[in-house]
Symmetry: C2
């Protein structure tokens, strides 16, 4: 019987009690990657850790800004670093199409090409193929699709996904997964989840064959949609295999927030406590706190920069839209607690003007602010775990912050 | 007889011999503005000077980047300063419509609003009214027009143009002029030029009445189209009145480059040598050298930033378009002689990628580069005048630089 068949009873939780985790560096000999949990919260599953890569360390819980096409939209790498980001995410789907592996290798790798010296995690391309590309067709061997840019045909399989990511020098390589959009039939989710794990085995072999451990780290992904049994089985399968980190995929795709929290509570305790847990595609302030409370170490999302380009800005009191008339004559900084260049150098009235006048500087300043706001949340999360007051800090944040949307904004 | 009637003979040149100009600070007591010529070229009309305003000094010949809507497109004020600009131009037409005088005054003035601490010159609004607004209708009292944003009706007259500019704190106020587009009938150009001078008299009175000299400086504008006699008469009229500087308007509007040079040669020597000469709307590298050689001290143009957003970049060998395929794998800086962030931090291949991928960072880096390129030209022009080798430097630049267009790109 497939481990992904519906379970009869209540899923068992794994060995995820935070108190089990020793606060010591957990590095494998001869690898380019290590992860250590350095503090745990007593009232939740939240934990403090340090990821170590060849290109530097990352304090966790960490938010990774997204540099889709080898650039975090509107910002220089230097600025992304200055707002407090220690690691970026780039998209394999986009990079393989443009500029392509050849150009990236000729440039001396992705880091040299885009001018970011810190660690980079690249996704596998799966998400974009199923959401952005045309004519995606999955076979057991891999997936064929058409470029959203010019309609040209392409093929991606587990081995190619690993080769591309290692080829341009990613510090963290994501395994190719198969995910299905919501709403989905049970069978479709089950089939995709099973395929994800068969592909993961091939990714592990490919990563080994290509000498990946000397340069990089491979993360696997658990799927399972919103089905508790499939989620549990997928997390258990992921917990068993030789990967350096465990990602939770297929969430933050439009489901209600309580469902996402429930899935996380199910999955996180099953995943090995000595490996980093990465919740993919999550990046609203309230979700970062929620995920951290459930033991997530890494997050990524286009949300802060995409919202920014629409004029939606994070403040300690919630999200506001700077284009609203009420900001036209607010001659003080948008967020007096923020130390970003938008808030220290300019007034809310000026930001309002830039957006009304459709000036590109507005998009820059808004992106800078939203990324800085999230980086400050992550720093607050880490500091509160270190100080043993995560629960209080979380409650204090949520008392004040008013999210705009009731469902997950993906 | 009107001084703008066609002259019978050859126009006389004025007292513009560079050797006449004493290299001493020429400041009027009790004013917020001074201009001094500190060196002159022996082989041309080129000259080195210093403008002094309440907000700092400007070395001339100077190029003023354009911050149309209280922002130099895509760039922070800090970056504009860092590329070497000492003075900005902002557009009265745009500012009066959005954000409006009330918001700018409430913000503590234009400088505080946009975060630029150096001098700002504002144009009078005339150019945009005649080129951008709808239904522009000129009467002797002033001009009525409709906003290009929302079609709302507006009125601008000499007194209002001065009041707006003084109201938000411009360091250099431009008089309201009347210009007609090309091609134009002689009578239309003559009428507009005559009106420009009647309006100038009203601007001078308004500037005086509003206490302008204590805070700012008023520049007048000569017009006259491409008609030698009208140009000469207009320049003579401008030379006679109480303004702090003399602008040359109505050029760089599509006429052949030799015609622009000819008009400049006619006008510049007539204008008082102890006042700065400002050639409006000129900003291609070859035109800056050409204008400086004819005694121009100040320039402005949207060209460098507008071209940049189209991927057209200045290099010492001429203008190139970074979107061209030949840059896709050029893994070295676009201009190895340039010290801007685009050229020192990134390859031409990366810039090419950003433009192909329509990434906003490309627009930023290109704008930064083109402004830095022009700032370096201005520095080279100034240094060569100081060193008594302007002619050689000009020839050396032109030997290498290949402009793309044969006519003035305005």
């Amino acid at each position: 019987m497939s481990p992904f068949a519906p379970a009869a009873g209540k899923p068992q939780h794994g060995c995820g009690d935070a108190a089990d985790v020793a606060p010591s560096v957990h590095a494998e000999d001869g690898t380019a990657f290590a992860f250590a949990v350095v503090a745990t919260d007593m009232t939740s599953f939240a934990r403090r850790g340090v990821l170590t890569t060849r290109r530097g360390a990352v304090q966790t819980p960490a938010f990774m800004p997204v540099g889709t096409q080898a650039t975090v939209k509107t910002l220089l790498p230097r600025e992304v670093r200055e707002v407090g980001a220690e690691i970026l995410l780039c998209n394999t789907y986009h990079l393989m199409l443009r500029p392509g592996l050849g150009t990236l290798v000729a440039a001396g790798g992705l880091h040299a090409f885009m001018g970011w010296q810190g660690p980079i995690l690249t996704d596998s391309g799966g998400f974009q193929i199923f959401s952005l590309a045309g004519n995606a067709r999955v076979r057991e061997s891999g997936v064929t699709f058409r470029s959203h840019i010019d309609g040209s045909p392409h093929h991606l399989d587990p081995e190619t996904a690993v080769a591309l990511q290692l080829g341009w020098g990613s510090d963290i390589v994501m395994a190719l997964d198969h995910l299905v959009g919501l709403p989905a039939e049970y069978e479709a989710v089950r089939d995709a989840t099973e395929r994800t794990h068969r592909w993961l085995d091939r990714c592990i072999d490919a990563f080994e064959d290509q000498g990946g451990k000397l340069r990089s780290a491979l993360f696997g992904i658990c799927q399972g949609g919103m089905d508790s049994a499939l989620r549990t089985a997928s997390a258990r399968a992921l917990a068993e295999v030789d990967v350096a980190g465990c990602a939770i995929g297929g969430l933050s795709v439009g489901e209600p927030k309580p469902v996402m929290a429930e899935m996380l509570e199910l999955v996180a305790p099953i995943l090995p406590p000595d490996k980093p847990r990465y919740l993919m595609g999550v990046g609203s302030p309230e979700d970062l706190w929620m995920g951290a409370a459930r033991g997530v170490d890494m997050f990524d999302c286009v949300l802060p920069t995409r919202l920014a380009r629409n004029g939606a800005l994070f403040t300690p009191d919630g999200r506001v839209n700077i284009k609203q008339r009420r900001f036209a004559d607010r001659h003080e900084s948008l967020d007096s607690e923020c130390d970003c260049e938008a808030c220290t150098g300019f007034s809310a009235a000026y930001l309002h003007h830039l957006f009304r006048a459709r000036e590109l500087l507005g998009l820059r300043l808004a992106s800078l602010h939203n990324l800085r706001f999230l980086a400050r949340q992550m720093a607050a999360i880490r500091a509160s775990i270190d100080a043993g007051r995560f629960g209080t800090a979380h409650a204090s944040f949520m008392d004040r912050y008013r999210p705009v949307a009731a469902t997950v904004a993906g």
